[in-house]
Amino acid sequence: EPEVTQTPSHQVTQMGQEVILRCVPISNHLYFYWYRQILGQKVEFLVSFYNNEISEKSEIFDDQFSVERPDGSNFTLKIRSTKLEDSAMYFCASRLTGAYNQPQHFGDGTRLSIL
């Protein structure tokens, strides 16, 4: 069964550095998402992306964050000038269409540790 894949599985970065988290969504999916989960807390929506543009973003997704689909397969989340509180699991998800009977499929996540 097709999967969403995320790399790396674990990223350790010094505070203030930039990180890029990578995702390869399921190939025929059209909607893409990033979520984060701080340890022990709920999964929080960051951003959704469709037709090469952001369709929705949460209050967490400020100017520090950006997303890009640089080619036909990758979907990236960039975090500039990382802070300690950015440490979390980051999940990518994709969805075939925006129809109401379509679930989001998640990758295994990237654990981001800011030192």
């Binding site: 909607y31 929506f45 929705e56 009977n101 379509q102 679930p103 989001q104 998640f106 990758g107 654990r111």
Partner: protein, 111 residues
Amino acid sequence: SQQGEEDPQALSIQEGENATMNCSYKTSINNLQWYRQNSGRGLVHLILIRSNEREKHSGRLRVTLDTSKKSSSLLITASRAADTASYFCATDEVNNNDMRFGAGTRLTVKP
């Protein structure tokens, strides 16, 4: 605003017993989804129930949805030790293109 609050926060049962988890939400939804997460892993989609459906089955899973009470339940029958995981409900809200997750129920099934 918070959406998709599960209860109980933690549930411990013996293998073979049924496990019931509940979820409440606040806004109008297109659908409600249940996900499972093993420790340190990603979210695995279990079942989606649309707002015009009241009950749905998938193997040992049974989900109900009551839109008048804005609540849903997930029943796992004949539980197994391998069902040990966290279970989250997530709501697909009307007029939003995102999902809101609850804090999850941590289920432990003892062999």
